[in-house]
Every structure is written in structure tokens, then in C-alpha cells.
Symmetry: C2
Subunit: 116 residues, 2 copies
Amino acid sequence: MKPINLSEKLSAFSEHWSPKIVSAYNNNDVLVVKVQGEFNWHSHAETDDFFLVLKGQITIEMHEGNVTLNEGEMYIVPAGVEHRPIAKEEAHLLVIEPKNTPNTGDPSTAATKVEI
Amino acid sequence: MKPINLSEKLSAFSEHWSPKIVSAYNNNDVLVVKVQGEFNWHSHAETDDFFLVLKGQITIEMHEGNVTLNEGEMYIVPAGVEHRPIAKEEAHLLVIEPKNTPNTGDPSTAATKVEI
């Protein structure tokens, strides 16, 4: 029964594109992640993809157009929509996804999500 | 295909305890809400209750103990746990709940959630 301090959680690791589980909401993982550079193009057929920028800036490239998010801005990529997050400089995100969703869209290349 | 700016959304209304829908994540509403004072004791049998403080401070009272959350802190009240959010001064929250969840736990007293 403790508050979850997102900055504190983020200060506990440094690697990029390696989401860490901070809590659970129903059947979803709530994660923080540090990102920098270009991720892979991918989509999740079964789930929307929730992004909230806690620090910095990201652009979510989609074939239909791009969305640039600054701190305090969020976007939800609809299920099935192919996208690629990119960040010129390090950015910190809150992400929500159903448990066992591969972050790359492909279990064989997905990061292992650990709880912190 | 536009970023959702949470501060902008919050600046569009002033009433307390009246959650506004800013987006949808799978079968959930993503909402912002301004709170001040004491809410009612309630629980949601079917769903966890997601709280992230965007501004200010809230305390979530529970029979097992209280959790105080400051800006950048979150807490998820497990399904079925009776709780009462209180805020001495106005606080701004991001809340996620399954569509059609009554914010008071009781459809007869729940706020109508409108999209902004």
C-alpha cells in the first residue's frame, strides 16, 4: 500500500526500450520505459497501445501520419495500426499493455518485462 | 491523429469530481478529473481503479490504510477494495476505468462522463 513514484522507478535503470512493470491494472501491465533512437515498425493486432510522455519528446510514426508527443501528452495507437516510436533524445514514457504483449509486436524479439 | 495534451484538456472545465473522457484504451475510458474535498466511500467489484496524479496531492483512504499521492505518483486500488479519495486542495488526475464504470461505484449517483 505504497504510492508508485514514476520518477523513482525510472531512476532505477538506464537501458533503452526495456519496459519495467510498475503495477497492474486489471489484466494489463503498467510500465515505465526509457527510449532513445528508433524502435522497429510493428503493430499489435489484439490491443491498443497506450503512450504517455513523462519526460522529453517522442514521435510515433504511422503510415497515415506522425504524432509528436511532449511531456504531459499522450496518444493511443489503435489495435492493428503499424507504428514506430522514435526519440531523438532520451524520453521517458508510461505505457499500458495487456499482460504478455510483446513490445516489438513479435514474441521472438520482444524485451523481457521485469517488475521494479 | 493528434496528441492528447492533458493540461489543455484539464483547462477546458472547472467542476470537481466530474471525469472527462480524453481517449479510449481497448474497452476502457481514459479520463482527466479535477478533485477537491472528500468523495464518497465506494468500491468497484469488477475492476481495479487507476489513479495518476498530474497536479497537486490526493489521499486515497482505505480501511486497511491510506495512500497519499503527489504529482507523478500513481496507485491502483484493487477491485473490490472500498476507498475514498480526498484532496485538501484542488488536484488533477488521470484515471482509467472500463467503459460504463460508475465513478461512485453506484450508477444512480455516478457522474455522467462526457468526452472533451
